[in-house]
Each structure stands twice: as C-alpha cells, then as structure tokens.
C-alpha cells in the first residue's frame, strides 16, 4: 500500500467506527473505548518488539498517563477530554525521556526485568502516597468535550469512544507509514544484528531510545483515555499484571499488522467481560486458557491470519 492508500484506508476506518458508534449498545461503546485505550498502549509495545525488546513494565507509562490526566483534572481544574489525553501522553513522554537513556543500553531479559522493576517501584510509591489517594486511588469527574455535550446531547461514553477511535486510527496510520520508512525498517535490523546496523553508520542506542519514547507517549495517552472512561485512577495501573496484559495483546496480534493489535485488544476485553459475567470466580482462569490456546494454536498471532488472507488474494490475481 502506498502512503496515500494507507491514509485513505485509515480515514474510511475512522468514519466507519464513528458511524457505528451510535448504534452500539452502551456496554459495547464502553468496552470499545477501554479496548482501544489498551490497544494504543500495546501498539507502543509492538514498536519496541520490532527492535526485539519486550517491556514487561509498560504499565508504568499507562499509570503515569492516567495520573497525569487525572491530577490535571482534579488539581488544575481542566475538564476538556482532548487536553487531558494530550497531557496524559505528554506525561508518559516526559517519563520516557527521563528513563529512556538508561534503558536504551539494555537488551532481552535485562530490559524486560528492569522495565518491570521500575513499574513496580512506581506502583509501590503510589500505594504509599496518601496525597495521591494511596492504594485506593482517586475518583475523577466526567470530562467535557468543548461544550458539545451540552449543545448536542452527546453521551460522554460515546464522546470518549470517538476520541479513542481518532487517536487509535491516527497512531496506527502514522506508525504503519513509519514502519515502512528507513528509520522504521532500521528497528528490524537492530533486532537482527546490532553490530551490522552500527557499521552502517546509525546509532542503535538512539533507535531504541526513539522507539521507547514513542511507546511511552502512546501508553500515556492510553492510560489517560482509560482513566477518563473509568473515571478512576489507582496504583494497579502500574502493577505487573496490567503490563502482562499489554504483552499478551502485542503477542496475540503479532508484528505484521497494526489493525490486528486493536482486534486482539477488543478480543481480550470481550473474553474478559464475558468470562467475568458468566464465570465470576474463574475469569482469570478463562483468560489464561484463552492465552494458552492462542499461543499453542496460533503461533504467529492474529496478524498472520489477516496477512494470509491478503496473500491468498494476490495468489488469485487480485490487487493486494
């Protein structure tokens, strides 16, 4: 696909998602918004996975984003959702810029463990920070949307869903273009062989740092969106099990398609809400069995399924 086609496809997808919104039942809009927020975060993980790095602590930025937006609302009296989500993204970005230089020197299991340790550090600190609500966290007020909700009767959940759609589609589209660019392809080279990439005249450290910061920004926005949908922030956002879910979404999706990430995220949320409704005492177990099944029987993730269909179309003589 050329860049123009990608942008056109993205615009069409966004229009379809927004048009679909009003027809969805309330629970589906809510679930969609949460799934998109998590998908945006997992998108960042895929950016890092392309250079062979797995973060087991992306919850750190998800949490920082959520608290950034939440505190701006509670202390700064800002209620505009767009401003809050951007503020969440920027908080994630700043945190990424601060710890990125340290992490850029780590690889493999050391990268995974250090990201995990840092996110647990933030979790522990937040649990004890009484001014930030301690382990109970803080309740947020409903956000506003430039006054639109008063003039048009826009439902707040739909408005957040729409905002999540815009951010998700825009970031997926930009990253899809980036992945094909020289700097984007460089990440694959880093995964393959760092020393060769260095000899080609680029800095591996810088490439990893850039990916890390992009992922932090995305997770920050994801965390802010999640905070606005749920109306609540707490330290659990930085707990290692939250990060584990993002890893699962990224692996379930595979690294071949950006659309697959959101499909995977929606699938995970559906399985979770379905199982917590029908097996309230065994929803984690259902989630675990679902994960195992996917890992065992779909080794290349959902993205590979989408890719395979496209491949068979080419084989049949259709345009890719």
């Amino acid at each position: 696909m050329t860049n123009t086609k990608i942008i056109l496809a993205a615009t069409a997808t966004l229009a379809a998602l927004l048009a679909l919104g009003p027809f969805l039942p309330g629970w589906a809009t809510f679930l969609g918004a949460v799934a998109l927020a998590k998908g945006i975060t997992a998108l960042g993980l895929v950016v890092m996975l392309r250079s062979g790095l797995l973060s087991f602590g992306q919850g750190l930025f998800y949490c920082v984003g959520g608290y950034g937006a939440g505190l701006l609302m509670l202390w700064g009296d800002v209620t505009n959702a767009v401003v809050l989500v951007i503020a969440g993204g920027l908080s994630g970005l700043v945190a990424g810029l601060l710890i990125g230089p340290l992490l850029a020197g780590y690889r493999k299991i050391f990268f995974a463990t250090l990201t995990l340790a840092l996110s647990m550090l933030v979790h522990g600190a937040l649990t004890k920070a009484d001014i930030l609500g301690g382990s109970d966290g803080l309740n947020l007020r409903p956000p506003t949307f430039f006054g639109l909700e008063q003039t048009t009767g826009l439902s707040p959940v739909f408005a957040i869903y729409a905002l999540a759609c815009v951010i998700a589609v825009a970031s997926a589209c930009l990253l899809r273009i980036h992945f094909r660019s020289v700097r984007g392809l460089l990440s694959l080279g880093v995964k393959d062989n760092e020393i060769r990439v260095e000899y080609l005249g680029t800095s591996v450290r810088r490439a990893i740092f850039e990916n890390y910061v992009v992922a932090a920004f995305l997770a920050g926005m994801g965390g802010a969106l999640n905070a606005l949908v749920l109306g609540h922030i707490d330290p659990e956002l930085a707990f290692w099990t939250t990060s584990g879910e993002f890893v699962f979404v990224a692996i379930l999706a595979g690294q071949v398609s950006v659309v697959a990430i959101f499909v995977a995220s929606i699938l995970l949320e559906l399985v979770r809400s379905f199982s917590s409704q029908h097996f309230p005492n065994a929803w984690q177990m259902t989630l675990g069995i679902f994960m195992l099944t996917v890992i065992l029987f779909m080794p290349n993730g959902i993205g590979a399924l989408l890719q395979r269909r496209r491949g068979s179309k080419i084989a049949q003589g259709e345009a890719p």
Binding site: F110, L118, N281, A282
Partner: protein, 299 residues
C-alpha cells in the same frame, strides 16, 4: 544494639524462606531458560496443601506434634511430583523452540489459571496451620524473645542451600545438570538425556517453591494473593543475584531480606518498594546481577 539485632535477625528469617523459593526459580531459569511467572503459585499451592494436611493431622487430637511438620514438608513432594512433570511434559516442552518472550507469556497464563484454581479448590477464606509454630519454643536473643521456629527456618535454609550445592557440584547427576545449564546443545550431543534433566530440574524447582510455602505456612495466614507478591520477591532475588546462579540467589536473598527488614524498622512506608529499588539499582549498575555471566554479542 537491640535494634541492629532485630533488623539482622528479621532480615535473616525473611531471607531464609525467600532463598528457598528463589533458588527454585533460578534453577528453572538456568536449565530450561524459562522465566517462570507461575513460581509464586507453586509456593501458594505448597502452602495451601501443607495447611490442609496440618488441619487434618492436628484435628485428630493426640498425634505427636513434630510429625505434623514432617507431613507438611512431605506434602510439598506430592505437589512437585504431580505439578512438575505434568506442566513440563504436558505444556512447556511444546514451546521450547519458540521465543523466550512466548515462554514468559505461557507462564503468565499459567499464573492466571493457577490463581483461580487455588481459589476454586480452597476458597477465599484464610487457612491457618499455626500448630507447628510452637514446636521449638521461644529463644532469648539480646533480651528479645524470638520464636524458635523462625530461627529454625534459618538453619533449614542453610541446610537446603548446602544440600543443593553439594547435589549440583559433587554428584554425577548434578554435574549433568550443570552441563545442560552451560550448553544445552553440546550436552545433548554428548549423549546426556536433556529431556530427563528438564523434567527433573523443573520438578525440583516446583518442589523448592512448594516447600518454601510449606515452611512459611505456620507463620502466615494462607490466603489468596500470596502468589503475586512471592513471585516478585523471588524474581527480584534472581535478578539481583544473577539469573541461573545459586550462590547469587543466596546472597541476593540476604540483600532482599535485610533491606526489607531495614525498611520495616526504619522507614515503614518503603517496605513495598524497597525491593524493587534495590533490584532497579542493581540492574542499573551491573545488569547481569552479582554472579550472572556476561553475554556475548553476535556478529
């Protein structure tokens, strides 16, 4: 002086059971190259089974109290004997060819499954197995009264560490395990039955986690949520000590135990995150841990 003694002893007691659990994690990582996120669940299951066994044994009245403790420790063998081969042969072996990230995720899925499975089997109400706690009486140290059982834990951990070290370094099967840790393909080429070593190492790893649960069961209330904290503690120990290193795990367990007791006595609000702080600092200064091997970069 009293404060120093308290901090030291509390730290040692903490370090002893953490060491036993963590050394199992490091063994599994060393041999199978699997970072086992379900390790805390093996600890929790060990604690639940031991508490249940203790419940049955002590309920029946005038049995000799010391034998109850032996039964509790023996129950961990049962846990490991069932769970170890079942999970290694039934699940993990299909995935060794895959990326190590996938294996972490598989153990994460196992963590979720076992977490609910324990709740379904034992319910959400706490279990108590305090009867053996008074077996060794009380001891006076510098004017402080300590429960003998706690001090016995230290002895037990030292004993376990020595047995494990001797087993690995002074026996033939131990040396085979070390060979597999060092180079899996080469060992296989030399005729070592790597599959068997995998099952045995994983089972011993599960056993160490389960016995860690069994020996702490009399000290704590056995209830949901144990796994999630224990796995991170042992994880921290393994990272600080160096992945796959037993000597490292011993020293790191001391570091973790002492820093926790330092925090509890001097800076209580830091108790939750002091371990991660130490872990992050260690990774920042020496990423491969105290005793970890430096990895070569491929060209």
């Amino acid at each position: 002086m009293q404060l120093v003694t308290t901090i030291l002893l509390d730290g040692l007691i903490d370090a002893s059971w953490i060491f036993i659990v963590a050394v199992g994690l490091t063994l599994i990582f060393g041999v199978l190259n699997v970072l086992n996120l379900a390790h805390g669940n093996f600890y929790a299951i060990g604690a639940y089974v031991a508490a249940t066994v203790a419940g049955w044994y002590y309920a029946s009245g005038d049995n000799p109290p010391a034998f109850g403790l032996v039964l509790m420790l023996g129950s961990s063998m049962l846990v490991a004997g069932i769970l170890g081969p079942l999970l290694e042969r039934g699940l993990l072996r299909f995935l060794y060819e895959r990326d190590e990230v996938i294996l972490v995720l598989v153990t994460y899925a196992l963590f979720l499954i076992l977490e609910d499975a324990t709740k379904l089997i034992w319910g959400v109400n706490p279990y108590y197995a305090y009867d053996p706690y008074s077996l060794f009486g009380d001891l006076k140290v510098y004017g402080l009264t300590y429960v003998g059982y706690d001090l016995m834990l230290i002895v037990f951990a030292i004993f376990a560490g020595i047995i494990l070290w001797l087993g690995l370094n002074r026996t033939k099967s131990g040396k085979l395990v070390l060979a597999v840790i060092h180079d899996r393909d080469m060992s296989s080429a030399l005729g070592i039955n790597v599959t068997r070593i995998f099952v045995i190492a994983f089972t011993i790893g599960v056993f160490l986690a389960a016995i860690g649960g069994a020996i702490t069961a009399p000290k704590i209330s056995v209830q949901p949520g144990l796994a999630v904290t224990v796995v991170l503690l042992s994880f921290a120990v393994v990272v600080i000590g160096g992945l796959g290193s037993i000597e490292g795990a011993a020293i790191a367990a001391l570091v973790v135990g002492l820093s926790r007791s330092l925090a509890i006595h001097l800076w209580p609000s830091a108790e939750l995150f002091i371990v991660y702080l130490v872990m992050a600092l260690m990774l920042a200064i020496k990423p491969q841990g105290m005793f970890g091997a430096v990895q070569l970069r491929k060209i």
